[in-house]
Each structure stands twice: as C-alpha cells, then as structure tokens.
Amino acid sequence: MSSPISAAARAADVWKVYGSGEAQVIALRGVSLEIERGKFTAIMGPSGSGKSTLMHCLAGLDSVTRGQVIIGDTVVTGLGDSGLTKLRREKVGFIFQQFNLLPTLTAEENILLPLAIAGRKPDQEWYQTVIQTVGLSDRLKHRPTELSGGQQQRVACARALAARPEVIFADEPTGNLDSRSGADILNFLRRSVTEYGQTIVMVTHDANAASYADRVVFLADGQIVDELTDPSADAVLDRIKRLDLSVQAAAE
C-alpha cells in the first residue's frame, strides 16, 4: 500500500449503516479505495449500490460507521464541525446534479463564493484560465435564473475549480443535462485533469460519462466489485452487463 500522502483521498475498510433493526440498510460494506492524485476517477454501479454514499463519506459530508477516510494529509474520520468546515474550505470542491447555485449572486460571485467565504483572494491568472476554459466570460454578470442548465453547471464547475481544491467530487454532474451540454461538462472536467492536474472523483451511472475517466471503480451492493483503467465506453458497458448478470445470478 502506498503512503497516504501520494493519494489525494483514501478510504480504508469503510462501512456505512443506515437505521437499525428491521429498517437497517448497509450501504457500504468494507470499501477500501485510493483516489490517485491528478487522476479522473469514476465510480459506477447500479442504482442503490452505494455510489453517492461512498462519495459523501469520502468528501466528509457524511460520517462513516466504521473505517477511516483521509483526504490529502487530513484524517477526516472523527473531525468536528469546525474541522470539517476547514476541510471543505481548503481541500474539497463539489459539483452537484442540481447545480446548486445561489440565486441572489451573479455567475461571477457564485464562482468566487468559496474563496470569499474562506476570505481568500482569487489568483487572477488562474481565475481567467478557469472562466475561459468553461467559456463563461460573457455571462459573468448574469444571475443563475438567466442561464441555461448547461451554463449553470459550468458555473458550478468553475466554482469547484476556482479554489484549486485537493479533490473535486461530482455526483452525477451530467444527470440533469442534455447530451451536448453533458459532453461539454465532461470535456471540461477531463481538461482540468489533463492540463491542470486536478484530482476529480465522479459518480455516474452513464457508461459514456465514465469513459472520460482514467479509472472506473464498479460498486455493487456496497462493495467494490471491479475496476477498469483507461476505459472505453464499450468496455464499461461490457463490464456492467457482466455485473448485472452476476447480480441477477446472486439474487436467484
């Protein structure tokens, strides 16, 4: 096993149990995973397999029942609210399926929001790079309600990138978009990894989206069951079919 420093994020034997007794759901069953620095990792799996749960645990948005999560050199497990707040400020960025922009702020203010909250000055050069990469230069003064879905998600991407976090977590970022806007976003994420060395973890159930990643981790029933490196869309689809068959077989 490599040292924690070389990985951007790490989960070690992570269990997540919701509820108790009759209503108990085990969402993660001993997941161990390393997110490589400067790589684009996709987490795939059927609905209900625990993808979102894994991502939330990795990002420190949710606590784990057992096991340990580390981001960069910070042990996330056991952090209090102020520790988590600091972690979110300095180490992680988020992209959500529903964009989640603040309607009272302009696109530009939304992009700079995490920096403003942290009280940090934006690095002008980087900021220009980011808005040019996402292609929003002429929309900066607009409010979210005046932007299309694709544009809003690009603002959300720029917001995640602007602070140059250790890891960006994206939960189904293209789930609410048409295929063209979705492709734009995926290209943009790909470029941030390739050109700027950003680490990105993306949850998706779309094989095509997963094919943009350097590595795909397959989750089923709360466990990592497989993985692929430098996948093509076809290879991903193939794996999913096989997994589905085995899941069905297990069910029967």
Partner: protein
C-alpha cells in the same frame, strides 16, 4: 379532502404557534384592561354602597362654584349651619340626624418630617361621631380633648404610630401637635375604605381646622324611622329646608354620585389600555396575514392540485376559513384566560396600594367581545391571501409554483395616492379649511400610515441595499442583504408590523419634546426670577404655604422682588375658571406684566385685573363692575382696575389676597423671588429654606429645577406609552422570527450548499442575523420617518406658544439601536436552525 388540507396546516406547527402568540398577546392585553377596570369599578361600587349603607338621606350644602380641575373634590364648598341641623331634627320620619364634619387636607407628618402621601386618595380629616356604625375604635379611645385625635389603622401602619404617640397634622392651619388617643378601623376589619387616610378630631377642632368655620358641618346624615322610605324622607327634607341652598340625596344616589366620578376615570383607563390591546391585535393581524400568505404560497401547488382534481374554489377557501377560525378562536381563548389572570394580578397590585378590590369580574360582553375581535381579525388576515391564491388558475399554479414576484408598480402607485390623500387631509386641517378632527387628523394620519405601508415593498431594496453597504464587505453580510431584497413584499409586510408601534411612539415623542421645548422657552424667556417656593405636586391640592411668608422673604437682604401666587377655581362675571392672587408690583419685574389699559398696580379687596383674553371675551373694561364667587367666600362685587397685555405666565384674572381668603385653601401654591446679585442667590435660598423649614410640603428651588419637575410628568407619560407600545413591538418581533424561519426552511438547499463550500456555522448565523436586523431597521426607519412627519404635522396644526417644534434625536437614535437589538433577538432561533442544518440532508432537500 378537508382532512388533507388540515394536515397541511398542522405541518407548520412552529409558525402557527408564533402567529397564534400574536393573537394571544393582543387579546390578553385587551381583556386584561377590561377585567381590571371592571374589577376595580365593582370594588368601588361595593365600597360606596357600604359607606352609604347606614345613610338613608344625606344633606349637603349646594355650591355653584366649579370643581377645581386640579383636584380636591373632597374640599368643602358650601357648608351646613347648625340651624339647618336643628330644622332637620324636626322633620317627621327622621329617626337620627347626624351632622358630620369631613374634608380633604389633613396631612400627617411622618417620622422623617415628610407629609404622608396616598396614591391619589384623599387625606380626610373630620369630627369623631359616636355611634357611627361604620367606624369602630380598635385600640385606645375616641378623641375627647382638643389635643387628641384618632387615626385610621392604615395611617398608623404607614407612619408607625401607636396609641399615646404625639403626631403633627397640617390642616387649614400650619402643623399642630396632637396625641393619638385611638386607632380606628372600618366595619369588616378594613383599615381603610379605598386607600384614603382619616384623622378624627373632636367636633369643634374639626370645624376649625378642616372647615375653617366654627359651628358648621360638611354634611348631615339622616336615618329614616321605620315605615318611611328613603324617597319619602328625601321629599320631606326638601320641603323642610328647600332645594335652592341644600342638596338632598338618598343613600343610593349618594353612592351612585360618588361612584360615577371614579367610573368615568376607569372608563378612560379601560379604553386607553384596550386601544393598545387592539394595536397589538392589528400588529398580530399583519403577522397572520404574512404567515398565511407564505403558507398558502407554499401550498399553491398543492391547492392547485386539489382544484385540478375537481375541488371547487369554495372548498379551498372553506378550508382556509376553517383553519383560521380554529386558530383565532383557540388563540383568543388562551388570550382571554391570560387576560383574566393579568387583570387579576393588576388589581391585586393596585389593591396593595389601597384601591378597593374584590373577586375578579369578567363581564360576558368582555369575554364575547375579546373572542370575537381576536377571531375576526385572524379570519380576515388569513382570508385575503387565500382569496388571492384561489384566483390563480390551476394550470398556472402547477406549472410555476415559485412564481417570480409580481411587479410592484400598481401597489406603489396606489400607495402614493393614499399617502397624498392623507397629506392633503392634514393640510386641510392645518389651514383650518376643514375643522373635523376625526376626518382630517384621524383619517389623514391613518391614510399616511397605510400609504407608507403600501410603498414599503418598493422601498425595501433601495433602503436595505443602502444600509447593507455597511456589512457588504463580508460574505455573510452580503448574502443577508441580498436575501432581504429577494421578496420585497414579504420583507416589507414583516417590517410594517414593526412600523405601527414605532410610528406611534415617534409621533408621541416628537409632540412631547415640542411641548417640553415650548414650555422651557416660555419659562426661560419670560420668567425673571432666581428662586421659587413651590408646593410639591405629589402633596395634593391642599398643600402650600402661608402667603404672608413672602413678606418675610422680601425682608431678606438681596431680595429685590417677590410674590406669592394663590390660585383656585372661581366664578368671575358668571364664568367658571381660574383666578390668582399675587402682588402686582413685583410681578411686573418677575413676569413682565404690562398694562394694556387701566392701572396695573397692587390690588385692594374688591378689585380685579383681567387678562387680555378674559377681557376680550367678556367685553369688560377698566372701571366696570362685576362679581366674584369663591368656594368659601360666596359672592362679592369686583371692580375692574386694569387689563393686562397678553402674558405667557399670568393667563388668568388677578385678584387681591384679601379676596383670595374665600378660596378653598388658605395657602399659596407658588412664590417667585428675584435677587439683586447672582452671588447672593445661595444665601437667600438658605434663608428661605429656614422660613419654610417646618412645612414638609413645599420646596425652595430655582426656576430650572422647577421646570424639570413640571415637565417630568411628560417623561413619565412617554415612558408609560412606550411600555405599552412595547407590546406591538413584541408582536412584530414574533413576525420577524416567523418570516425568517420560513425563509430558512425555503432556502434549505442553498444553506446546505453554503455549508458544503466551507461556510462556518457562526457565519450562517450572521447571514440570518443580517437579514433580521435589516428587516427591523427597515420597519423602524419607515416608522421613524412617518412618525416624525405626523408629529411635525400635529405640532404645526396645534401651534400655540407651548409648542416649539423639536425633533427628539436621542429618541430616534435609541429607537434605531433598539431595532438592531430586536433584529438580533429575532434572529436567534432562525439562525440556530440555519446553523444546525445537516449539510447532506440540506443539499439533497427537494
């Protein structure tokens, strides 16, 4: 269907409780006013019935002299002589005839040398009557010698006097020493009937000290022989002594007359307090209106869904009607219960200061009225937004539940028109074009207020934006400012609730500070005196000093001019009003008296100088003859010697001290002294103090000190007013809490996002607090502006010398600071909610 809708209502428990709380507070206040008023008034009615229980018919002297508006109703006016008592004894059917001597103004000095005060009740002195069934000696003996007195038990308690002690009493005469021969109480174990004190003298002493005339009585109580009705006895008495000089009343009539004076005072008390209760309710109505608007806006989609299933518009309305009736009724019931409790506490509190009390009185009309008003206001406030929502077509509502704000233009234009009409009405009153105060002042002020409320949404963004510049530098501040401007209607309506109380308080403050400034100016510019002797306000209408003392003051080295002023209500030239006795020559210097016509000089008995207004009104000229009627002196002729130029300090006719001997009390209320050199003031003051050292009811001060005392009642009045208006502010704060809770709830996802990108809990709190403070400041600011405007208008309209337009900056600034604090307090609960949101749940919140 109905069930489903009711579930919708109860899903928002906290907000429901908050709006219900507003109604509870309003109704509680209103009913408490009536309950305590009614309870006290029943107490008084019972009291007077008890007092007059043993009196079948009472005879008093008839006096035409007007009651002194400054008080002292118990002061003797016309008396009953021994001859009439003798005549009454011969009336057929009069079993016992008891002549009485009772009058206000027997002040006992306590161990610290101060006159023992009551809370407004008279300090009676009179003759001990053996065999009076209402009064009993509890300890010791009745007064038998001229230097003996019996005192009531409450007096003994307050002054810590025992039988055998020597006490000093001020009456019409200066203080005299008496020995306490006994402690008296009333039937039923009462120490006092209604907080009054009583000193019992022997008959001749009482006649001299309390009535100032030997051989006279204040009233005669008659008990009827069996078989003779009170009414019959009254008729026989009237036949015997006539009705021109003496008033004959049955016991019941006496009780009613005594109670009615109190009753009208209590009515004012009840009405004044319920006005504040109603203000609280109206503020509450804003809150309910806002809550239901928000609840219904949230549920527009749901309601539209019902309608698309075929529910009619009426069904939707009916469900809101039912909800609001339920809410209003329950809240008013709780309010009524609380009000009864409050009223009971209030009467207990007053009873401890001597007011009569009994069991709590809750009139059915009060109970029903409270429930009705509380429920009606709730229903009205809830129905308006429901009506509006039910007009939205189902498809429209379902398509777009989160409608963008409707434009504010119509509302703003309507607001401007309303405001303009209100202003025009005030101008009409100001120019005296229309004299009806209800239409001009009342309606005008109301329209201005409503107009301002309607303009508030349009003003929300500019005002909060401008104030927001102060906190814009930090992210929580900036977000808070933006959130405030997000839904201007909601923000404005919430702020409007606060506006009500602030507007009224500000208007009152502007008016009061103008009165204060006006009075101060009058004093400063027209009064040319260095020292003042004045009877203490709290010592009642009988307090004062012997006017002859002023002659000794004049003899003090350094004193250049001095005069005493003795005032009373009289009838002059057939007209009721005040008259004063003063030394005219020194008054020329002291008060700047100048002749308009005739002579302005020291007066002899039978001479009068008229003030300008009086002369103009009556047409009297120097040399004319007229008549003066005083309380004790009866009627006497007067000759007009001069007419004064208008003077701010002497605004009533001036008579001689000789004629003033007919006034109710033989004391001067004020004295003014001018000293040659300022360096001598302290020495003169010291000598004057020794002159009145044995009189605990007067103080030697200087004009500025006296001014402070005489305007202090204004401050007191304002304080009371502000405490009462605090109720409406309290309700308004509930409204702010309510609105913010809703906003936090509606913006759950955004708040979650902020947390996800690294906003700390405390900064979340500050964001909510910013919004809260901005809403409060908006309300306060609008209230201050409208209130100041109305206050200025009132001052301009009433004009007059006692008003000098003054803006109470201190008050305005305090109000703004208060608004910030209120905003912070209101933010507490919503801010905690926002800070404690679970980040993950908040983000995935639908």
């Amino acid at each position: 269907m109905l069930k489903a809708m009711l579930r919708g209502l109860f899903a928002h428990k906290l907000r429901l409780i908050l709006s219900a709380l507003a109604i509870v507070l309003g109704t509680a206040f209103m009913s408490a006013a009536f309950v305590s008023g009614d309870t006290i008034s029943r107490g008084f009615t019972d009291l007077f019935s008890t007092v007059n229980e043993n009196i079948d018919v009472q005879v008093t002297g008839k006096s035409d002299v007007p009651v002194n508006p400054a008080g002292g109703e118990g002061l003797v006016t016309a008396l009953v002589p021994q001859s009439i008592v003798d005549k009454l004894k011969t009336v057929d059917g009069a079993q016992t005839v008891t002549p009485q001597v009772v009058s206000d103004g027997a002040r006992v000095i306590d161990k610290n040398g101060k006159a023992i005060a009551t809370t407004g009740a008279p300090r009676l002195g009179g003759a001990w009557v053996d065999g009076d069934p209402a009064v009993e000696i509890r300890e010791g003996n009745p007064p038998r010698a001229a230097d003996e007195v019996a005192i009531t038990a409450n007096l003994a308690k307050t002054g810590e006097f025992k039988v055998g002690d020597t006490i000093e009493v001020i009456t019409l005469q200066p203080r005299q020493k008496f020995k306490v021969s006994g402690i008296a109480g009333y039937a039923g174990g009462r120490d006092s009937l209604g907080g009054e004190t009583f000193v019992f003298f022997t008959l001749p002493v009482a006649q001299e000290l309390m009535l100032g005339t030997p051989g006279m009585y204040s009233n005669v109580d008659i008990k009827a022989a069996s078989g003779v009705s009170d009414g019959e006895l009254k008729r026989r008495v009237e036949t015997a002594i006539g009705t021109t000089e003496y008033k004959t009343l049955t016991g019941q009539e006496t009780a009613d007359a005594q109670a009615s004076g109190i009753q009208s005072f209590l009515n004012v008390f009840k009405i004044a307090l319920s006005v504040f209760g109603i203000l609280g309710l109206i503020t509450g109505a804003f809150l309910i209106f806002n809550t239901f608007s928000m609840l219904i806006a949230q549920r527009t989609r749901e309601l539209a869904l019902y309608r698309s299933f075929g529910a009619s518009r009426n069904q939707v309305l009916n469900s809101v009607l039912l909800e609001s009736i339920l809410l209003g009724l329950v809240a008013s019931l709780i309010g009524l219960g609380l009000g009864v409790l409050l009223g009971w506490a209030m009467t207990k509190l007053l009873a401890s200061s001597g007011l009569p009390s009994g069991s709590v009185v809750l009139k059915p009309a009060v109970a029903i009225g409270t429930l009705l008003v509380g429920t009606l206001i709730t229903v009205l406030a809830a129905l308006i937004p429901a009506l509006r929502a039910s007009r939205v077509a189902p498809i429209e509502a379902m398509r777009d539940a989160a409608r963008p704000d409707k434009p504010l233009r119509t509302m703003t234009i309507a607001g401007l028109i309303t405001l303009a009409v209100g202003i025009v009405l005030l101008i009409l009153r100001g120019t005296k074009a229309v004299d009806n105060n209800v239409i001009t002042l009342g309606l005008g002020s109301f329209l201005i207020f409503i107009g301002a409320v309607m303009l508030a949404p349009a003003l929300t963004r500019p005002i909060t934006g401008a104030i927001g510049k102060l906190v814009d530098w930090a992210m929580p501040g900036r977000l808070g400012v933006r959130n405030t401007g997000r839904n201007p209607r909601r923000t404005a309506l919430t702020a409007a609730a606060l506006m009500i109380g602030v507007t009224l308080a500000t208007g009152a403050a502007v008016f009061a500070s103008s009165v204060k400034a006006g009075v101060t100016d009058l004093f400063r510019s027209d009064l040319n005196a260095d020292l003042v002797i004045a009877a203490d306000f709290a010592s009642g209408p009988t307090a004062g000093f012997d006017p002859a003392i002023i002659n000794q003051v004049k003899a003090i080295p350094g004193v250049t001019s001095a005069t005493a002023i003795q005032s009373d209500a009289v009838r002059l030239n057939g007209k009721d009003g005040f008259a004063s006795a003063l030394d005219v020559e020194p008054s020329k210097t002291l008060f700047g008296l100048k002749a308009k016509s005739g002579d302005i000089r020291d007066l002899n008995a039978g001479e009068v100088i008229l003030n300008d207004a009086f002369a103009t009104e009556t047409g009297l000229k120097p040399g004319d003859s007229t008549t003066l009627v005083t309380a004790r002196g009866g009627e006497s002729p007067l000759k007009v010697v001069g007419i004064l130029q208008p003077n701010q300090l002497v605004g009533s006719p001036v008579v001689s001290f000789a004629d003033a001997q007919g006034f109710r009390v033989p004391v001067a209320q004020q004295g003014y002294v001018k000293v040659a050199d300022p360096s001598q003031v302290d020495a003169v003051r010291a000598q004057m103090k020794t002159l009145v050292a044995d009189n605990p009811e007067v103080t030697v001060t200087d004009p500025s000190e006296q001014l402070k005392q005489s305007t202090s009642f204004l401050d007191l009045l304002l304080n009371v007013l502000n405490v009462l208006l605090g109720l409406t502010v309290l309700v308004a704060v509930l409204g702010v809490i309510n609105t913010l809770l809703l906003s936090v709830f509606e913006r759950t996802r955004e708040l979650g996002l902020l947390r996800a990108v690294g906003m700390s809990r405390s900064k979340m709190g500050w964001m909510v607090a910013t919004e809260s403070v901005l809403i409060s400041l908006l309300g306060a600011l609008l209230g201050l502006i409208v209130g100041t405007g109305l206050g200025i208008a009132l001052v301009k309209i009433f004009g007059g010398d006692f008003l000098k337009l003054t803006i109470p900056w201190g008050f305005l600034i305090t109000a703004l600071i208060g608004a910030v604090i209120a905003g912070l307090v209101a933010a507490l609960l919503p801010a905690i909610r926002a800070a404690r949101l679970n980040v993950l749940q908040a983000i995935s919140y639908e």
